[in-house]
Symmetry: C2
Subunit: 114 residues, 2 copies
DNA sequence: CCCTAAATTGTAAATAATCTACAATTGCAA
DNA sequence: TTGCAATTGTAGATTATTTACAATTTAGGG
């Protein structure tokens, strides 16, 4: 059912987990300007992984995904608040999914071909 | 319409494609210090997506993957050169795979402007 | 041990990117 | 028009990255 090659790429939950990105890259990835990202965060919509105030903001996969989803909805005409409300439930699904996948792959990994 | 939830996470090739990361984040993700990443690049092993000299280096999924693979091999005792040689073939497989997946998933993606 | 080349590391000075905070502007609906 | 949500602008300070030159460590062969 599955080729050995496939495993290599499909899929890198491990990678997604380690993923950390600065605000500039998030802007490039999502198309949402840094200024706007900071604004959303200031409103409590996003929660970046900032270590301490003054230090640069860091975003994980979930954060980036959330930004993308909100942007999509707003492009369709939703207000920020409505978009956030709508995205909230999708994020719950996403989080549960990631959590589940983590449990599967965490116990003892990386004994790959060598 | 076309959104089975499963596809949402599994698998985000689209996301991997847009992914761009700064050198600091790459270091945190891979565990390879920034100084060493620059050294490898200077040797021609890596090719970051730097727009112009003086500007910050940017890395995509393939770059990060390559760094991770090289690091793994070196941790096992390979020299840098040997590790690079070994990784080169794996990267070819990875690239082909990504390319193929791109062809499959690209038509779905719509407006991207702004 | 000595030598050589590979591999890595250190650091200064300049530049790029991000930070916070305060203010201004736009868009829309009542 | 008024009011509020949403966004945008920017100055000045701070953090992160850049290049370049040099020093250090590591592994093998002689």
């Amino acid at each position: 059912m599955e080729k050995p090659e496939k495993k290599e790429l499909a899929f890198d939950y491990d990678f997604l987990n380690k993923l950390i990105v600065g605000i500039g890259e998030v802007a490039k990835i999502t198309g949402v300007p840094t200024r706007q990202i900071r604004y959303w965060e200031e409103k409590g919509i996003l929660h970046s992984l900032t270590e301490e105030v003054g230090k640069n903001r860091r975003y994980d996969y979930q954060n980036i995904k959330k930004i993308l989803l909100i942007k999509e909805l707003m492009d369709e005409g939703f207000t920020l608040e409505a978009a956030v409300r709508k995205v909230e439930t999708r994020m719950k699904v996403l989080n549960e999914m990631l959590e589940k996948l983590n449990l599967d792959s965490s116990p003892e990994d990386s004994q790959e071909d060598r």
